[in-house]
Amino acid sequence: MTSPSPPAVGLTPPLAPRQAPRLSLRGRRIEGLRLVCWAASGLTAATLLGLLALLAVQSLPVWRHEGVRGFLLGDVWFYRGQRFGALPMIYGTTVVAGIALLLAAPLGLGAAVFTAEGISGRARLAVKGAIELLAGVPSVVYGLLGVLVLRDLVFRALRPFDPLSGDTLLTGGVLLAVMILPTVMTFADDALRGVAASQRQAARALGLTRTETTLRVVLPQALPGLLAAVLLGLGRALGETIAVFLVVGRMDNRLPESWLDPTPVAAAGQTLTSKLGGSETFLAYGDPLHWAAITGLALVLLLGVATVTLGGVSLAARGASGSASRSSRGSAVPSSGGGPDASLA
């Protein structure tokens, strides 16, 4: 059935490149379709690069005005005085995302261990489905719940520290933790499921309990994927705007004396995203330098998120290809693997 000559179809590109006869009129039309496809790809690439270039060009005045160091490490943002230091916002974003990770990573990884190793069949599908849906809840809905529920809870919890309101960096962080939980869970679950079943069977046959199997055999192998899950969650936390905006208080952070000093966490703060989403973006619209500062913040945010996300994606791909080569399923169809797709939910 299969000929020994180079197979026309079915390899990683489903259709071999030179398979179409080029002489017929038909062949020409086919090449037309191909042209359209490549044009669309070029457009996408151009958009991505153009977006980066646009932000870079528009923010140029502020890099000249403050210097790269001055903009990134300057601790005063006072636009009437033309002082643009991004550090307070970078600090806010770091703190908020850090709190979110601290809460969501253990919870998400633990839950993923349960869904991947502890249950199967319908129960697993039900939980997976619920988590997929949870990932789709709009951030403005989370924000609303944050404003009307979480804010009061945080205010009450912080009462010993005498906070001004419930709008704090802590509130933003806790809300973000809930929001990134499905991301962490989905990726971690994919990573754990990627470990070949034969490994578990072997461990169980040696007399290990299921816990020991999970901790000593499955987790070490899934480690890159689990790390990727956390990184992708972090990427989402860094870039999230609306929910954080509603509960973070939107006062430019006063940097603490020491980086370990926790007091700003219980006070109103500002993140890169809440700054960008706020009224200052409209204010800045007419003033080239101020506008450059705003687009500079956007550029910093973009580069930070892109680094974290692409790091996570490449880790996930590595984990997936590693476990795929270990398992001997021999599927004809190369699945796109580990799960970066799940983040698209």
Partner: protein
């Protein structure tokens, strides 16, 4: 001791999973509970009165539909072209890898950055002011990776013998694309689009500066300076100022409608997604 540890471990992880699921149910139940008094058919088909304290959310709903329809019209053709380029026309692993990196980079873009870039492109450079088309185009770019990846996965899952059969018939490549690849992967396009639209319907940040206003817009009649009302933006604005209890109830009801819209779109895509994922791994 070992068995005791075993139980403890599963108890703890199970608790974590339970908590995560309870969050979803809790959110839905809570919104329903708070919004129910204002939920009715007339809430969906009436114009808003007095900054959210009366009336319904008709134009917010219509605005959101306009935005996601535009986003779909932008993203779907591009996604088909990208997926075909990556699976059928790309030569070698390197090209495909670049496709994936570009898609993940696009997917990782923070939505507020898209909003700012949209403001530069459509507001500053094209001078559109706030326009539904700007919002729809931005949302379209935002969901492009979601749609494309779903389609890609489905194309890669087409059984190899289908291509072999088509090739054995002597069909040229374009014909195989039209008769095998596209029909067989239609499900991926649909489920990916549903998922993307669910995401687009709930997004606020990209339309904040480019497309949405809180009041004073109905249906657009052109492109320039033709903003729309939108459900997420409506909730976003009201959430910052919720002193009026009557507006509060309507706000919860609006949030419930948005959540229901998003969850329904997501739910429609769910069986296909779960099947694709679970099968790919264990089929």
């Amino acid at each position: 001791m070992r068995r005791w540890l075993d139980r403890c471990f599963w108890g703890l992880t199970g608790l974590a999973a339970l908590l995560a699921c309870a969050l979803l149910l809790g959110i839905v139940a809570f919104l329903l509970h708070r919004g129910l008094p204002a939920l009715s058919w007339s809430f969906l088909v009436q114009d808003t009165v007095g900054a959210g304290s009366g009336g319904g959310i008709l134009y917010q709903l219509l605005g959101t539909v306009i935005l996601i329809a535009t986003a779909f019209a932008t993203a779907a053709p591009l996604a088909v072209a990208l997926a075909l380029a990556a699976t059928v026309y790309a030569r070698g692993k390197g090209t495909r890898r670049r496709f994936e990196v570009a898609l993940y980079a696009l997917n990782g873009l923070p939505s507020i950055v898209l909003g700012i870039v949209g403001l530069i492109v459509f507001g500053k450079l094209l001078g559109w002011g706030k326009s539904w088309l700007a919002g729809g185009l931005i949302l379209g770019w935002m969901i492009l990776p979601t749609v494309t990846i779903a389609l890609l996965e489905r194309i890669q899952a087409i059984p190899r013998r289908y291509f072999e059969a088509a090739a054995a018939l002597g069909l040229p490549r374009g014909r195989i694309v039209r008769s095998v690849v596209l029909p067989q992967s239609l499900g991926g396009l649909i489920s990916g689009s549903l998922l993307g639209l669910a995401r687009a319907a709930g997004e606020t940040a990209p339309i904040l500066f480019t497309a949405a206003v809180f009041s004073g817009a109905t249906l657009p009649s052109g492109i320039r300076d033709n903003p729309v009302l939108a459900l997420p933006y409506h909730i976003f604005v009201l959430a910052q100022d919720t002193l009026d209890p009557e507006a509060g109830t309507r706000l919860w009801a609006a949030a419930f409608v948005l959540l229901a819209l998003v969850l329904l779109l997501g739910l429609a895509a769910l069986p296909a997604r779960l099947a694709a994922h679970e099968e790919a791994r264990h089929g």
